[in-house]
Assembly symmetry: C2
Homo-oligomer: 155 residues x 2
Amino acid sequence: MPRLFAAAVVIAGLATALPAAAQFQKPEDAIKYRQSAFTVMANHLGRVGAMAQGRVPFDAKVAADNTAIVVAMSTLPFTAFGANTDMGMPNRAKPEIWRESAKFKAAADKMAEEVKKLDAAARAGNLDAVKAAMGAVGGSCKACHDDFRAERYSN
Amino acid sequence: MPRLFAAAVVIAGLATALPAAAQFQKPEDAIKYRQSAFTVMANHLGRVGAMAQGRVPFDAKVAADNTAIVVAMSTLPFTAFGANTDMGMPNRAKPEIWRESAKFKAAADKMAEEVKKLDAAARAGNLDAVKAAMGAVGGSCKACHDDFRAERYSN
C-alpha cells in the first residue's frame, strides 16, 4: 500500500531526524512506544498546568525543567504512526490518522510549536506568558484528540 | 511508615531536581509513568545497541540523537518509586526496591552514569567507544533488573 507507506514516511520525518522506518519490529512495539511518550509528556505538562492554574505555586525553575521534558517528548510519538500500526494492542488511534495524514501532521506540528512557546515562557519565568502558552498548548492537544483520538480503546 | 517515606524522598531526589512527592495522584499513575519512561528509554537505547552490534550501520548523528533521549529519560523513572507504589496496576517492581533503597539508588545512579558515557562516545563519533559504553550500560541495566525487577507482573 504505497499511499500509506508514503504517509508513514512523511509522519516519520515530520518532527525528528531519526529514521523511524523499521525502528519498530511489530505494530504493538510502535503503539506501546507512542503511548509511553504521550504518557511521559502529559505527566510533565500536567505539572506545569497545575502551576498555570494556581493549584501549585509557580516555580520558574521547576516549570522549565518540566517543559524541557515536554519539548523532548513532543516530537517522539509521531515517529510511531507508521503504516499498519493501527492495531496489535489496544489503542485509540482513529483511521483518520492515516486517511488525513497531512492534517494529522499539521496538528502534530502545531502542538510541537506551541510547546516550544510554553518552554520559552517558562524559561523567561513569566507566569502570565506560561498561562497564555498553556492555553494554546491545551487547545492544540484537544484539537488533535478531537479529530484523531477515539473515545474508546480498540485493537 | 517513616522508613518507607524516607526512602521515597531519597529516591525522588536521587536523580532529578523535580519534586516527585505528590506528583502522582494514584499509585497506578506512578507505575504507568515509570513504565512509560523505561519503554521510551529502552527503545532509543535499542537503536544505538543495533549499531553497536553491527545490525545497523553506525551513524554518529543518529546515535547521538538517540543517546540524548536516553540520557533525558534515564533519571525519570526513579522519581516514581515512592512509598506505596508497589501495587495499583500490573508491574514488576520487587519489594527490594523499598527494602534496600540505598542499593536501588546506587543501581539507578550507576545506570545514569554509564548512559552519560555512552552519550559522550556517540557525540565523539567513536564506534569502538560506543561499543564499550553500551556493554557497560547493558551491564548496569541487567544488574538492576536482576535485583529489583520480578520475572512476572503482579498487582
